[in-house]
């Protein structure tokens, strides 16, 4: 550490737009991901073979040719797993590491092969002679509902009497919306490296959002205690929820091979296999009935959500819950029923993905709003405004939580004005009246997103902070870095706590032997929870130092302040390093763990009531598109976003989350289409067939602002708000704008029946239906 830098006064780091801590390493190629690590001597490479069939009984697993293939060292099947053959995060035993008996989706791993090279392992894996007796497969939501094939209990929220409210309303409508899933398409595929240690212990490097769960599942599969396994995660090349539970299977295979052979073992999935064999965002079918008044004000509403969960529960229960929690988005629903079915299908088990059901919930209500607007011939923005939370008694959610922090009315007003919404809506409509091939659409949509894990016990976090006797600081916490800037944010908080320059805080890899029993880095909660835990650790160390130094100087402990220009002991300024060294010599402990549990939250499933969220994050977006009514192609012309992140810990990082989240959401709703064939085999499993947005899909007029008035009424870390997931749903404005453009082809009062993703094909076929009056 540079002594001069260390002793110069530090500028407070929190609230500054500092670059990602690994920025220079990223741009020079020096940032190390799992597959970049120096390969240990004797490394084995692991690959796997999968079921070609969506549902069936395994007859014969002919692996002789695999075993005899060049370079092969070991072949493992379910029978070779010493402990539990289970990767269910909820310990339901409904998803195996390697299938035994039956297979439940095409792409399900059947065996693992370890070889001297990755190429040899991949080649060998293809030599298996797999004999599976096919069984009838349930592939879609409709069939699953018919057969009552579910992974979890149906859940219902209800407030008031929605049936009566709808019946007695002046206007009534109903509809159905199909939403596709989404592949995470993290650029770094799934990867893990397992290294044998003394006593048969394992050290596992993984690209995982959830090291503690991995640790436990590996130990469980080996029949060992958790303390025999250490998992380390330095960074991920993107995750987005796709490495919350989905990293486990691959780390387990590497661990099983390492355990079996005593040699280090690495696995890295090819992109196609990654997309075929890992879970995705859930596709949903939402049915709704609504009653409303002349102004478009909703009086009663009934939602039926059905999610395609795939072959196992995974996190589908919580994801479906979150879809229900967001079926109101920012709108007050006076009488409401939300019922959610969690459909079991013979497809890959769908999983967490940024938004975690929230996007699907919101897309439903936004379609309802637009149907009402079309029916009443109103601007959808006007219908949105009259339905927002606020006003007399209009503050209770369908799950009986009071919305205390609603900022949508003012935020939407500010955005509408900044984006010149009313004038542009007029321009768009007059452009469309000209009747050309190209039509335009404009939409403003809001986002209200609840922050906290809805499973209460997950809302806990730990940190470990060491201050070394030279004044340098080592920071560790349970959160993982996947590019979202968590590490820099927590380091900013810690630097300011001690009043030291940011460079003095060393960020270190997440490890289960440093901070135990962590929750996944998920639910946007990473900085909310881990920064609070780190703050707690800092406070402990500071208190110990203050007690000692205060006593030495004869001042009270609370008169010792850690400021950016040094440690103030009463009126005397001391260098941080001096104070630290003095404390060390006086045998004061300079290391502490920190802990945080989110306050106030609870939810009772029996009554479907509670406060599942500590607070809400808000935002809104205006998107303008044009569509080609001969081909269904479209372009995004302009986007304006205003998003509330409270008081931003790092505006550069937060802006990146907002921009990136929006574009990812746009992909989900436009070009990203998952296509299964009639046998239930995914046919879009590579970037050649699965199309995420590219640079040219993002318009030059992309005006993204953090809301200056943003605050958090809850005492979160420096009054910031979570930002990981909420911006994704700003992209609903793009879908709505496409629908608006299509509506110019529709008879008055008719809503363009546009499902998601709005591929050019869906747009054109929707245009055809409208033109033909069908």
């Amino acid at each position: 550490m540079d002594k001069e830098v260390r002793q110069s006064p530090a500028e407070p780091a929190v609230h500054r737009p500092l670059p990602h801590d690994s920025a220079v390493k990223h741009v020079t190629g020096q940032a190390v991901y799992v597959d970049d690590m120096l390969e240990p001597e004797g490394l084995l490479h692991v690959y796997f073979g999968t079921s070609p069939c969506a549902h069936g009984r395994i007859g014969k697993l002919g692996l002789d040719r695999v075993r005899q293939a060049p370079g092969v060292v070991a072949v493992l099947t379910a029978a070779d797993i010493p402990g539990a053959n289970d990767i269910s995060p909820l310990h339901r035993g409904d998803e195996e590491i390697l299938a035994s008996g039956e297979v439940h989706f095409a792409g399900q791993p059947l065996f693992a092969v370890a070889a001297e090279s990755r190429d040899a392992a991949r080649r060998a894996a293809r030599l298996a002679e797999i004999d599976i007796e096919p069984l009838p497969a349930v592939l879609d939501i409709e069939t699953a509902l018919e057969r009552e094939s579910f992974v979890d209990e149906t859940h219902e929220m209800k407030r008031g009497d929605p049936d009566a409210a709808i019946e007695s309303a002046p206007h009534r409508l109903d509809g159905v919306l199909h939403m596709g899933g989404q592949d995470h398409f993290y650029l770094e595929g799934q990867a893990a490296l397992a290294m044998p240690q003394e006593d048969g212990d394992l050290l596992v490097h993984s690209s995982s959002q959830h090291p503690s769960e991995l640790q436990h599942l590996i130990a469980q599969s080996l029949g060992r205690a958790d303390n025999a396994v250490t998992v380390e995660v330095r960074r991920m090349g993107g995750a987005f929820g796709g490495k919350e539970t989905q990293a486990a299977q691959w780390a387990l295979l590497a661990a099983l091979v390492a355990d079996r052979t005593g040699r280090p073992a690495k696995i890295r999935l090819d992109r196609d296999d990654d997309m075929i064999s890992t879970g995705k965002r859930h596709d949903f079918r939402t049915r709704w009935r609504v009653g409303f008044d002349d102004d478009g004000r909703i009086l009663g509403i009934d939602f039926e959500l059905a999610a395609r969960c795939g072959m196992s529960a995974d996190l589908s229960g919580a994801i479906s819950d979150r879809a229900m929690f967001h079926s109101d988005n920012g709108y007050y629903l006076p009488a409401v029923r939300i019922r959610s079915y969690r459909c079991r299908t013979n497809t890959v088990s769908n999983t967490a993905f940024r938004g975690f059901g929230g996007p699907q919930g919101m897309l439903g209500i936004e379609q309802v709003i637009e149907a009402i607007a079309a029916h009443r011939n109103l601007d959808p923005l006007a219908v949105r405004r009259v339905n927002l939370y606020g006003g007399d008694g209009r503050i209770l959610t369908p799950y009986f939580m009071t919305v205390e922090d609603n900022v949508l009315p003012e935020l939407m007003d500010e955005l509408a004005e900044a984006a010149d919404y009313p004038a542009r809506r007029g321009e768009v409509e007059s452009f469309n009246r000209a009747g050309g091939v190209i039509r335009r659409g404009l939409a403003l949509t809001p986002v209200k997103f609840g922050i906290s894990f809805t499973t209460a016990f997950l809302n806990q976090a730990g940190a470990l902070v060491h201050v070394y006797k030279d004044g340098s600081i080592h920071l560790n916490h349970g959160g993982t870095e996947m590019g979202q800037g968590l590490f820099i944010k927590v380091a900013q908080v810690v630097a300011d706590e001690f009043g030291v320059p940011l460079e003095q805080v060393r960020i270190s890899a997440t490890r289960t032997d440093k901070v135990p029993n962590t929750s996944a880095t998920a639910a946007s909660s990473g900085s909310d929870m881990n920064a609070m835990a780190a703050l707690d650790a800092c406070s402990k160390i500071k208190r110990r130092i203050a007690a000692h130094i205060g006593a030495e100087h004869g001042v009270a402990e609370d008169s010792v302040r850690f400021d950016s220009d040094g440690v103030w002991v009463g009126a005397q300024r001391r260098d941080f390093a001096d104070v630290v060294l003095q404390a060390y010599l006086a045998r004061v402990s300079l290391s502490a763990t920190g802990f945080y549990r989110t306050p106030k939250i609870h939810y009772d499933r029996e009554t479907a009531r509670g406060r599942p969220f500590l607070y809400f994050a808000y935002g809104a977006a205006v998107s303008e598109v044009e569509i080609d009514t001969l081909t269904g192609e479209y372009r995004l012309r302009r986007v304006d976003i205003l998003h509330d992140v409270g008081r931003s810990l790092n505006p550069a990082v937060d802006l990146g989350q907002i921009e990136g989240g929006f574009v990812q959401g746009m992909g989900w709703l436009t070009t990203e289409e998952l296509w299964w064939d009639e046998q239930g085999v995914l046919r879009t499993h590579a970037p050649s067939t699965y199309k995420i947005p590219v640079a040219s899909d993002v318009p030059d007029a992309f005006h993204v602002r953090i809301w200056e008035r943003g605050d958090n009424r809850e005492p979160t870390i420096h009054r910031s708000k979570a930002v990981g997931e909420p911006p994704l749903m700003l992209a609903i404005s793009v879908h709505s704008a496409i629908r608006h453009a299509l509506t110019s082809l529709a008879p008055e009062g008719v809503l363009a029946p546009l499902d998601a993703p709005a591929t050019p094909e869906r747009v054109l076929l929707c245009a055809e239906r409208l033109r033909s009056g069908a």
């Binding site: 020079t28 190629g29 398409f185 993107g238 296509w675 050019p760 054109l764």
Partner: protein, 499 residues
């Protein structure tokens, strides 16, 4: 077989003769393995995500031109005589505190990296933009140029906005970087690597050969009719990385001088395009002669793919969804095929391009024969010609369908109509019934309606993940309408991509 002539190239500033490698080895595999350069990442191993983007320098007279390539599907042996730059080469030294290249600094300053995994690829694409801007300062670097340079690089974190900002900033701030300063010397070093003989070697029973003349190529083909011809490897690369295919002989056509020419044999044509001409090298010329082809060419693949892929490759692989065949068939292209003749001579035959495609997976190609060049009539002033590509994503996507329209009017009436589609059948095919419906008719909405109906006799397209049969049919008909609207109004009736 003749004795081995091993390949060699510059890796950064170092002369490199890798030796002893399987000719199937890709640049990426080699970089991350034996070269111990793990800054370059694998995102897809099929040339579609750009995480593995590297810059390849080729001598152009006294200087060096750098272009972006996907290392994941680029055969290592194709680097013979070139310079390879990876992300590790750009900064003064690959260690903390070393001066960053302007594109790297711009990426840091604009927060252009989040997870960082795609970043090395973006950095290399931006490097080629920076380099091109320094060499062609008069060509503006506007948003559509930036979009084009970045079209082959996927980022899942940032939403691209900061990377676009970095592109602008790095170009604004551009001074000569050290590659520009050393360009003269590098060109000399590359010149010293040039040679008259053909690179060839055999490893583990697999042979790589890179003949430098058509006669030599055909001789190889005569001796090994089953040799796998490799041009840009944008298809063959995937057979290796995804299907794990192996071939006994890889015959690289990228060095065959005669196949790399584009020339006007006479002032009024035809235009002759060698089979190994890459899209990037043909783009300006084709766009100048056939403006209606330009948009399709700019949406075909991405920069990395157009820098590698060849027009001959797009034809020879017989894909039903290649974009060049319909575009060329509509123009009345002829195809020249060549094979070794008697006494070291070359035997050629010429066919209509459309006749080359017999049925799905089967082309009119005889043993020992290769696609040599395409012969294109120059456009006439009384004709309209447009090519429309339809894909799920606007750029860098394989077409759901591609329609090429070529109509010549005699007064008000249609004197000649050639309409060809990709994606509508097992091969690129003309819409003969639609053409017939137009011939002799007044070029009007009525005629178009009849032709649209007649198209039912032309095609029964497939449903797959790119589009359903009904969408393909409807869009194919609508493209004809678009063509008529545009020819009648003289203005685009579609979404216009950046100029």
């Amino acid at each position: 077989m003749p004795t081995a002539v091993p390949i060699r190239f510059l890796l950064g500033d170092e002369l490199c003769e890798p030796g002893g490698f399987d000719p199937h080895t890709t640049v990426l595999e080699w970089l991350r393995g034996r070269a111990d350069r793990r800054g370059t990442k694998e995102g897809c191993a099929e040339g579609d995500c750009g995480a593995c983007t590297v810059a390849v320098g080729e001598r152009r007279g006294e200087t060096v031109r750098y272009r972006a390539f996907n290392a994941c599907i680029l055969p290592l042996a194709a680097l013979d005589g070139k310079q390879l730059l990876t992300v590790e080469d750009l900064a003064e030294a690959p260690r903390p505190g070393a001066a960053l290249h302007p594109v790297q600094q711009a990426m840091v300053d604009t927060h252009g990296a989040q997870c960082g995994f795609c970043t090395p690829g973006f950095v290399m694409s931006l490097f080629t933009l920076h380099h091109r801007h320094r060499n062609e300062p008069d060509r503006p670097v506007n948003r559509s140029v930036i979009d084009r340079v970045l079209a082959g690089n996927l980022c899942r974190c940032t939403g691209y906005a900061p990377i676009v900002r970095a592109a602008r900033r790095s170009v604004d701030a551009a001074g000569p970087d050290r590659f520009e300063q050393q360009a003269g010397r590098t060109a000399q070093r590359l010149a010293a690597l040039e040679r008259g003989d053909d690179a060839r070697f055999t490893h583990d029973g697999v042979t790589w050969a890179a003949p430098r003349s058509l006669a030599a190529l055909l001789e190889w083909l005569r001796e090994c009719p089953d040799a796998r011809m490799v041009a840009g490897a944008t298809d063959v690369g995937l057979w290796v990385t995804k299907q794990l295919q192996r071939f006994e002989t890889l015959l690289y056509v990228g060095e065959v001088e005669e196949l790399r020419r584009v020339e006007l044999t006479a002032p009024d044509g035809p235009l002759e395009i060698g089979a190994a001409v890459r899209y990037s090298d043909a783009l300006d010329l084709l766009s100048a002669h056939y403006p209606g082809m330009r948009e399709m060419l700019l949406r075909l693949g991405a920069e990395q793919v157009r820098n590698a892929g060849t027009i001959g490759g797009n034809i020879a692989n017989g894909s039903p969804i290649g974009d060049m065949p319909p575009a060329l068939i509509a123009l009345g292209a002829r195809l020249v095929l060549a094979r070794a003749g008697a006494e070291g001579g070359i035997e050629t035959r010429e066919i209509d391009l459309e006749d080359f495609f017999i049925e799905y997976g089967r082309q009119d190609l005889r043993p020992g024969e290769c696609v040599a060049r395409v012969r294109l009539p120059l456009p006439r002033p009384d004709q309209y010609y447009s090519v429309y590509k339809i894909s799920k994503r606007f750029v860098q996507d394989i077409s759901a369908l591609c329609g090429a329209f070529h109509v010549r009017l005699d007064g008000e009436r249609v004197a000649d109509a050639r309409i060809a589609y990709g994606g509508m059948a097992g091969v690129p095919r003309r819409a003969r019934a639609a053409e017939q419906a137009l011939l002799g008719q007044v070029w009007s909405e009525d005629a178009i309606e009849h032709a649209r109906e007649a198209m039912a006799d032309d095609f029964e397209p497939l449903s797959d993940w790119r589009a359903s049969s009904s969408y393909r049919m409807l869009a194919a008909r609508n493209l004809l309408r678009r063509f008529w609207l545009e020819s009648a109004s003289g203005a685009p009736q579609r979404l216009v991509v950046g100029a």
